[in-house]
Amino acid sequence: MLEFEDIQHILLTRAPALTGRYEFLSFKDPTGARAWLAEILPKVQSAKAMRESVNAEKRWITIAFTWNGLRALGVDEVTLATFPQEFRDGMVARAKMLGDTGANAPQHWVDKTGSPDLHAIAILFARDATERGRCAVDHANLIAECKGVEVLSSLDLEATPPYEYAHDHFGYRDRLSQPSIEGSGDEPTPGSGAPLKAGEFILGYPDESGVVPLLPKPDVLSRNGSFMAYRRLEQHVGKFRNFLREHGKTPEGQELLAAKLMGRWRSGAPLVLAPDKDDPALGADPRRNNDFNYKDQDPQGYAVPLGSHIRRMNPRDTAASMNRHRMMRRGATYGTHLPEGAADDDTERGIAAFVICASLIRQFEFAQNVWVNDKNFHKLGNERDPIIGAQDGTLEYKIPKRPIRRTIVGLPTFTSVRGGAYFFVPGLKALCWLAALGKTS
């Protein structure tokens, strides 16, 4: 039985927010840090509280810490050593393996998330900008009262028009394929597979291997927690649209090319089910828009190219042990909308996303290393993920087609990494335990 009253809401629910704000914090003083935590703790909703109050509530708050942040709060070295190596290393130390090199390297990140002084994140999802503004002022006032708590950077989230459905700045409909957790009460949409064991996403429960994996100690700290990879990905919208115009002769050809890069039409309709022509009604229908596989329905990639984004992020029935590499995604877009026809401006816009999983190395890092950035994924030889892969202008993209496949050489960089970090998202009891550290020792 999942302990809904202890699990932070972000692990199990998605807030009906149109906006939000992330604040990246540093602690110079453990007493001040714990005072901040004790004050904000009552505002952090559990999954249970969130579900009960969702219609009345206007804002939802999540708190998470880096490994350095746990130390800055006063967690002892013996406890710290029980956390997995990749979390202790942090995202910066794992940059080469993740493909965060060249322009994507941590030294170019814009939000100080690459700093060892990054200790915590406060995530706010809000119904509207007024509520976000109110919460930002409240939080600034709280921080001013807590000794040694500093804001390293912050990021305001903005949905992009049209607001009726979630989509990114490139125009792709988002949030179509999400695993569901056994016992969470959420029914998987057709094609999303059976609900997964909670231990794949929440610490302290059996995972898909049938056992409870080794956890950080003490149990009160790890139970009902999870790990979370943060990625701030800038989307180069003008460059993306230019690419479509350059390689697609007609508007229909450009739409098809956009679909071939993703594996879905921008409406969300999957190419496996709508290979030749967009079907917006299919894209918008959760009973149908995820109901497909590859091994039987598209083994050669004639519909969805083998190297497309959705094949790499979720190879479905063409990957071994697929259930051991699933991830829960949260987050939103940031930056202003770039109107169609406008050239790239100096404004940064993109996706600020969280990948939630019980094991960063087995889930997030696996996906990044083995699926997104492996040039030889599906024996493709010289490709990386066309949307979020580490592109350097030398790689290609192959679109299977009868009689001869189409190969685009020198794929540009459509997305750049602008920030990132590994966090631990404790359960509410663990947050209380952390806030009380000074008192117990």
Binding site: P84, Q85, E86, R94, K96, M97, S209, G210, V211, V212, P213, L214, A320, S321, R324, S359, I361, R362, E365, F366, N369, V370, N373, D374, K375, N376, K379, G381, N382
Partner: protein, 190 residues
């Protein structure tokens, strides 16, 4: 991750001498569990050597039959490992019984081990490796410890050779399928 640029000419046999330690210092790629062992003309692979616990030789030997039966029952059971060949050897050169596990495959070292462990967990086959000295007791719950064991017991080659270098098992099978189809087509035209 592999570099495709010098891997295209399967007609040209290639040999690769590998520095002591198993890595080319100027070309080390970082993997999730440490530096990645390089792809060679003989694809990816490893030679893992470990001492067998006293009295366990027969258990290890019997495990060969278990794998034979598992593959017979489901020929695709080891497919995730993208293997070309496996060789399991037991030997004693005077310092006790040792087990050698040599594999040649197309996936990288760490992913091979992750996938192998998943197969063991999924199929319920108790792993042969619990009969080896130093294998972590908590292997079912502690994947990083298992991978550390294998990395520590890997004896990197100092020479590898490929008569048809860098060709994957998939490509070999594809070529044989084409040959079979062509042969069938020619038969039909007689």
């Amino acid at each position: 991750m592999s570099n495709a640029s010098d891997e295209n000419d399967w007609t040209k046999p290639a040999a690769m001498a590998i520095p002591k330690g198993g890595f080319f210092p100027d070309k080390v790629e970082e993997g999730r569990y440490g530096p990645m062992f390089p792809k060679t003309p003989a694809c990816y692979g490893f030679s893992v050597l470990a001492k067998v616990k006293p009295g366990r030789e027969q258990v290890v030997r019997d495990y060969g039959k278990s794998i034979e039966a598992a593959v017979k029952a489901d020929p695709s059971v080891l497919a995730p490992l993208q293997l070309h060949y496996l060789r399991w050897v037991l030997f004693d050169v005077g310092s006790g019984m040792h087990f050698m596990y040599q594999g040649i495959f197309d996936t990288d070292f760490d992913k091979y081990l992750e996938d192998a462990l998943e197969i063991f967990l999924k199929t319920g086959i108790n792993t042969v490796f619990t009969n080896l000295e130093g294998f972590p007791e908590d292997w079912k719950t502690n994947l990083p410890a298992v991978i550390k064991f294998f990395r520590e017991h890997q004896c990197p080659s100092f020479l590898e050779y490929g008569e048809y270098p860098y060709v994957s098992a998939d490509e070999v099978k594809k070529a044989l399928r084409v040959k079979a189809a062509l042969s069938q087509m020619l038969d039909q035209m007689q």
